[in-house]
């Protein structure tokens, strides 16, 4: 009788244990689902934030692109007005003053006119190159830099030392590429117009998802702090602004009489 009672007690204990354990086993998935729900919500927020950041970035890139295009158009307009326009006006004046009866003078004037027309053609080619930028970067920034260097070497004015590792890039960022190319063109134009340099050294490479573009020359140099303070930086403020737009860093070293070096560091792609 005692044994039977004991067994009944034991059965009841096991039954209670099973009932409680089953309840716990059913509660655990509930908490698991709550955790998954919360994690999923965080993931959703993160996704939305990422999308928003991407949209903001695209909008900024578009803005930068429009600004760069505006500036390019302005340069073209200025060059057309100041250089090509002047050259052609001078050509017209010279040709108008040709006296066919005085063959010796006429020949000299025609020769001068031809020289002016040739200069105009050269200037127009330069302008065409500016407009050509988007097509150049379509094959990658490495290729665009290479073309820029080729053009510079053809001028024969500078001794160049170039190391361009960007031709082997696997990933591109077309929006950034155009801005980087325009920055490089701006820097080289500044060197041509103001630096009076004889040697130019260009290094372009990618390291830890950052694109580095270093340009150094041995020209006259300038007082960078002074230029910064007076905001007369020969296009430097526009370079700085464009670098900010693509989250890049600009480092400039210049010593009067010893030349200037500019380093660009841009997150890439």
């Amino acid at each position: 009788m005692d044994i039977l009672l004991y067994m009944q007690n034991e059965t009841a204990k096991i039954a209670i244990l099973v009932a409680i354990a089953t309840l716990i086993f059913l509660l655990m998935p509930v908490f698991l689902i709550l955790y998954i729900r919360s994690y999923n919500r965080h993931k959703k927020n993160h996704f939305v934030e990422k999308q928003l950041m991407q949209e903001t970035f695209s909008a900024e890139m578009l803005k930068a692109k429009v600004e760069v295009q505006d500036q390019t158009m302005q340069s073209i307009a200025t060059d057309l007005h100041d250089n090509v326009g002047q050259l052609l006006s001078l050509t017209t004046l010279t040709l108008n003053s040709v006296n066919l009866n005085d063959t010796e003078k006429a020949a000299k004037k025609i020769e001068n006119s031809l020289s002016l027309v040739n200069k105009s053609i050269k200037e127009l080619r330069e302008l065409a190159k500016l407009l050509h930028g988007e097509q150049l970067v379509s094959e990658g920034i490495g290729y665009a830099i290479e073309q820029e260097v080729n053009w510079l070497s053809k001028s024969g004015v500078f001794q160049l030392k170039v190391q361009n590792e960007l031709t082997r890039l696997e990933h591109f960022s077309p929006d950034k590429d155009l801005i980087i190319l325009r920055l490089m063109q701006e820097i080289i134009n500044n060197i041509i117009k103001h630096a009076q340099a004889t040697h130019i050294e260009i290094n372009a490479y990618l390291e830890n998802d950052k694109l580095f573009l270093n340009i150094a020359e041995d020209g006259v140099g300038f007082d960078y702090d002074n230029a910064k303070k007076n905001n007369t930086g020969m296009g430097l403020s526009s370079i700085r602004k464009r670098m900010e737009m693509i989250n890049g860093k600009l480092m400039l070293n210049s010593t009067v009489g010893q030349g200037t070096s500019i380093s660009l560091e841009i997150p890439y792609p």
Binding site: T11, T22, M28, P29
Partner: protein, 215 residues
């Protein structure tokens, strides 16, 4: 007229919901779900009939376990393949489940309830369901949980098999009756079926909404 048992009632509701919500679904998985519930209802009804005639129905439910294992493995394969290629792990699971089924039949014959296979299924299907959750969390895309049919189908599986673990382990060791006609083992079975089919019906609703959005 005698009322159907609670489990049969739950399965009738589930089958009705499946027919209403999934009949037009062209996806083979959801069609098989509907077929499976119909088969489960048939097995449960005939098992109940045998029981009412005091005839051993364990061999009958052992046959159902065979189908149940196959269906749940197929369902988990369908859900997991959205994240990985689960063929290897599902094949391994199939070998383990049917191996244990065969072993139990050899050792105990087919007239004894195949508790070994049921225990193996509980553990294995719980692991698969948790692995599905892990893959879902690891995936970089987020899903809208409250309207994701596969998630709720797997959740039903997890509740049913994880919840039945303790009752399966202690099977035959407690004949405790909650009410005169209701053993605790059967009460747990009813609750688990209620949870499983409620979650599955919810997954059918999600699936119907998803299908309507896609069409």
């Amino acid at each position: 007229m005698k009322l159907p048992s609670p489990v049969i009632s739950i399965e009738i509701v589930s089958l009705t919901a499946a027919i209403v919500l999934l009949t037009r679904d062209k996806n083979s998985f959801w069609k098989i779900v509907m077929l499976y519930i119909a088969i489960a209802l048939f097995f449960e009804s005939y098992g109940s009939y045998l029981n009412s005639k005091k005839i051993n129905n364990l061999w009958w439910f052992n046959m159902f376990i065979f189908l149940e294992a196959g269906f749940i493995l197929y369902g988990l394969y369908h859900c997991l393949r959205k994240y990985i290629n689960p063929l290897n792990i599902i094949v391994a699971g199939t070998i383990i489940v049917y191996g244990s089924y065969g072993l139990s039949v050899i050792l105990n014959g087919y007239k004894q309830y195949n508790i070994l296979c049921v225990n193996v299924m509980s553990v294995l299907f719980t692991v698969y369901a948790l692995y599905y959750y892990y893959l879902l969390l690891r995936d970089e895309h987020f899903i809208v949980l409250k309207s994701h049919p596969e998630f709720w189908w797997v959740t039903g599986v997890l509740f049913y098999y994880f919840g039945s673990t303790m009752a399966n382990i202690f099977d035959g060791m407690f004949n405790f009756k909650v009410l005169n006609w209701l053993p605790l083992r059967y009460l747990i079975y009813i609750v688990l079926n209620l949870i499983l089919h409620s979650l599955w019906i919810y997954s059918f609703i999600c699936r119907m909404k998803q299908r309507k959005l896609q069409s």
